[in-house]
Symmetry: C2
Subunit: 458 residues, 2 copies
C-alpha cells in the first residue's frame, strides 16, 4: 500500500481507539504490512501505541515480532518494557537473530539477561553469538542463518536442498559454496543454479571470486562494498575464512541512512550516535553532547572580544565601526560553512578525488569565495557610501567583507582536511569550528583594515 | 578485492603509465572488477585516466561500458567526448538502458543526438523511451528490460523460460506475473518457483499483493518504498497498470546517497543538484548558486548594522559593548544551527513524529538551549566580572548570551517546520537563514538588555 494511503488511516484508527472499538481496530491492523503498522503508530499517543501493540500481540507473536523489528529501537524497548518477561522472550525468539542482537543491548541490562535465560538455548545461542562481536562490526549485524552447500554436491541435489530448507532463511538469492570444513570457496546465484546441468558439481558452476568480509569489518566498509559492487548480500567469514553469516542489502540501506544522519549531526556539533538518541536524550545528556562545541564557540567569542577590546581607542573615535561587526563575521561564516560542507561531503563520498584532489578543490573554493567577497564588498561599500555620503565606511566594510569571505573559504576547506589527516572524522563539528574561527579572523581583519585605512587617510 | 588492496595498486599503476608500459598496465587492469578500475582512476591525472580508459576499450567494448557505468557521470562524459561518435555509440549500446539514459543528457546535445542516430533502432528505442519521462521519476531511472511471464503458464514452463531468457536481464530474483494484456497481477520469488509443484499455473503460486510504482513516481518515494518494505526490486507500471520496467535495489542505494548529499548541500546554501555539479561547476555557476543565500546573509547583516546604529549614543558612552557582539551572535548561531540540523534531519527521516511530533521536539530544543544559555551566560558573566572587576559588563553579556541562545533554538526549530508547511524542502538553506536571523535577533536582544540595564543602574 502506498505511503499516502497508509497515512490516511491514522485518523480513522485514532477514532476507533478513542471509542475503545479495539475489535475494529484489530481488523484494520490485521490487513496491513508490519512496516505500515509501524508508520501508523508514530503519530499516536503513547497510550494508543501500547494498545496497537497489544492488539498485534493478541493477533500472533510473529506479528508482534514483525512489528517490533520495524519500529525504532527506543520505541520497541519501551513497548516491551511493559510486558511480562515470558511474553517478551516469546517475541524475541520470533525475531531474526540480528534484529534481536540489535534490540537486547538497548533494553535494561537485567531485563535482557532474564529474557535470554528464559529462551531455549537453540534460540538464545545465535543471539549471544552475535552479541560477542563488537558494535558496528559485520559480526554484530550479520544474520548467522546463512544457506551454504558443499562444493561436491551436484546441482540437482542443491536445488532439492533449497526446496526442503527452512523458510526462516533471510532472502535467499545467492547460494554460498563451502568445502568440507565450511571454508567459503564460491558463490552461485539461484539463476545460475537453474541454468546449470543438474549433474555437475557446484564446484564447477560456482564463481570462485566471492567478495566477503570478516566478522571484524566495520559496518561502513560493509555498506561501501555492497554499494560499490551492487551486491544483494555479503557473506561474513571468521578469521579462518569459515562462513559464519550473511549481511543482506536491506540491512545495508539502514546502515547508510544511519551513517549519513550521524555525519550531519556531527557537523552541527549535536553529538555522536544515532538520531533517536539525539532526539530523545534527556536534558542533561543533550547538554553534555553539545557542550564541547559550544565551549569552542565560547572561547572563540571571548578571543574576538579580546581583539576588539584592543581596538577600543579606535572604536571610541569611530563608533560606527561596531555596527558592521555582524555583517563582516556573518558573511564570512556563511561562505566558510558553504566550503566546509562541500569538502566534508566530498570526502565522505570520495568525490573530492574525482574532482582533482583536495588541493585543487580548495583552490577553487577560495577563488569562488574571493569573487563573491569582492561582489558583496562592492555591494556593501556602494550602499554605505550612497546612504551615508562618506566613502570611508564603505571602503573599510567592503574590504573587510571581501577579506573575511576569502579567509573563511580557506579555513572552511582546510579544517575538514586537517581533521581527516589526524584521523578524526572530518564531519566532527565542522560547523562550530569553522564559524568560530571565522568570527575571530573576520574581526581581526576588519579592525586591522579599519585602523590601517583610517591612519592612512588621516 | 577489498578496498585497501585496490588503493595499493594506484602507485604501481601510475609508475607503469609514466614509463609507458601500457601492456603491463593493461594486464593489471584486465583482472580487476570495473568498480575497482573506476576507483583506481580517480587519483590519476586526466591524461592517465584517458590512457586507462583507452586500454579498457582496447580490451573489449563491454569492459569499457562496464567502466563507464561505474564512473561519475561528469568524468564518463569527458572521456567519451574524446572518442569518435561510432566508438561512443558502440559503448553506449553495451550499457544498460537506464545507465545510458542517465549519461546521454549529460553529454553535449548534438553529440547525444548523433550517437542515438548511429545506434540500431532496437538499441536506441528503449533509451529514448526512458528519456521521454521526466527526470528523477521512476520512469526515467527504471530498466525497461523486465522479466515477466503470463499468469497461466505452469511453473515448469516458467523455469524453462527463465533458463532460455537472455543473460542481459538485470539481476533477476523476482518473477513478475502479468495477464494477457501485460497488466501486472502478481509476483513470485525464484525460490517460491523452485518450491512449487511444477504443474500449477503461476497464478496459483504468485503473491497477488505486489508493491509497484507508476512511471511518474518520484525517485525519493521509490527509495522510501524499497527501504521500508526491504525490497530487492520494484516493478514500474504505466497509467493502465501495465508492466513497463523495474528498479533494482542497487540503483536505489545510489538514489539514497544522492538525495542525502543534496540535503546537506541545500542546508549550507551551496545550491541544488548533485555533488559532481557543485564540485565541478564553473566559477560563474558556483557563484550563481550560492549568491541567493549570501544575499540573505547580507541583508541580515545590513539590518543588524541598522539596529546597532540606532544605539550609537549608548555605544559612544559604553564603548566596550562592541567587543561582545561576536560572542552573543556566535553562541546564538551555533545553538540555532544545532537545533535546525536536528529538525531538518528528523523531518527527512520521519523521526520527529516518533519523538512525539514537532511541537514537543521544538519545546525540548528550546529548553535545552535555555539551560545551556544560562550556563554559558553565567560562565561569561563570571569570567568578565572576575577579570574586569565590574559586574555591569558581566550581567549584560551573560543575560544577552542566555537570551540569544534561547531565541536561536526557537528560530532554528521553527524555520524548517515553517518552510515545510509552505511546501519548501526544509533543508533549503537552513544554515544561512538561521544564522542570519539570529545575528539580527541576538544583536537586538543584546542592545535592548544593555540599554535597559544601564538606564536602570544609572
Amino acid at each position: 500500500m502506498a505511503r499516502q494511503q497508509v497515512t490516511r488511516l491514522v485518523d480513522p484508527l485514532r477514532k476507533l481507539l478513542r471509542r475503545g472499538a479495539t475489535g475494529h481496530a484489530a481488523n484494520m491492523l490485521h490487513k496491513l504490512h508490519a512496516a505500515d503498522v509501524a508508520r501508523l503508530m508514530l503519530p499516536l499517543s503513547d497510550e494508543h501505541r501500547a494498545t496497537v501493540f497489544g492488539l498485534t500481540l493478541r493477533d500472533a507473536p510473529e506479528r508482534a515480532a514483525d512489528l517490533i523489528s520495524e519500529l525504532d529501537r527506543e520505541l520497541a524497548v519501551r513497548l516491551l518494557s511493559d510486558l511480562p518477561d515470558e511474553q517478551v522472550a516469546s517475541i524475541i525468539a520470533e525475531l531474526d537473530s540480528d534484529d534481536a542482537a540489535e534490540l537486547l543491548p538497548a533494553m535494561p541490562e537485567e531485563q535482557a539477561e532474564r529474557i535470554l535465560a528464559l529462551m531455549h538455548d537453540s534460540e538464545s545461542a545465535p543471539i549471544e553469538g552475535l552479541l560477542a562481536y563488537e558494535e558496528e562490526t559485520a559480526g554484530r549485524i550479520m544474520s548467522p542463518e546463512v544457506f551454504a552447500l558443499d562444493e561436491k554436491l551436484p546441482v540437482a541435489d542443491a536445488i532439492a536442498e533449497l526446496r526442503t530448507s527452512s523458510e526462516d532463511l533471510e532472502m535467499v538469492f545467492y547460494l554460498y559454496v563451502v568445502d568440507d570444513r565450511r571454508h567459503l570457496v564460491g558463490v552461485c546465484s539461484l539463476r545460475e543454479l537453474l541454468l546449470a546441468d543438474p549433474h555437475t558439481a557446484l564446484r564447477e558452476v560456482m564463481n570462485a571470486h566471492v567478495i566477503s568480509v570478516t566478522t571484524h569489518t566495520d559496518q561502513e566498509d560493509v555498506a561501501r562494498l555492497v554499494a560499490r559492487y551492487d551486491l544483494l548480500a555479503l557473506p561474513v567469514v571468521d578469521d579462518e575464512n569459515k562462513l559464519v553469516g550473511i549481511i543482506t542489502v536491506d540491512d545495508v540501506i539502514d546502515i547508510i541512512r544511519e551513517e549519513e544522519t550521524e555525519d550531519m549531526l556531527l557537523m552541527a556539533g549535536v553529538g555522536e550516535g544515532d538520531e533517536e538518541g539525539v532526539l530523545r536524550a534527556s536534558l542533561g545528556r543533550s547538554i553534555w553532547l553539545r557542550m564541547p562545541w559550544l565551549l569552542v564557540a565560547w572561547l572563540g567569542g571571548m578571543l574576538a572580544s579580546q581583539i576588539i577590546g584592543n581596538f577600543t581607542p579606535l572604536l571610541q573615535e569611530v563608533v560606527w565601526l561596531a555596527a558592521f561587526i555582524p555583517i563582516v563575521a556573518g558573511m564570512g561564516g556563511n561562505a566558510g560553512t558553504q566550503s566546509a560542507t562541500i569538502i566534508v561531503r566530498g570526502l565522505a563520498t570520495g568525490k573530492i578525488a574525482a574532482a582533482g584532489g583536495g588541493f585543487r578543490v580548495a583552490l577553487r573554493e577560495v577563488r569562488v569565495a574571493f569573487v563573491m567577497g569582492v561582489l558583496f564588498g562592492l555591494l556593501a561599500g556602494g550602499t554605505l557610501t550612497w546612504f551615508l555620503a562618506d566613502w570611508h565606511i564603505g571602503v573599510i566594510v567592503g574590504a573587510a567583507i571581501a577579506t573575511s569571505m576569502t579567509l573563511a573559504a580557506a579555513v572552511g576547506t582546510t579544517m575538514p582536511m586537517v581533521l581527516r589527516r589526524f584521523g578524526v572524522d572530518p564531519a566532527v563539528a565542522t560547523g562550530p569550528f569553522v564559524t568560530t574561527s571565522i568570527d575571530v579572523i573576520g574581526v581581526l581583519a576588519y579592525f586591522a583594515i579599519a585602523s590601517a585605512l583610517l591612519v592612512f587617510v588621516g
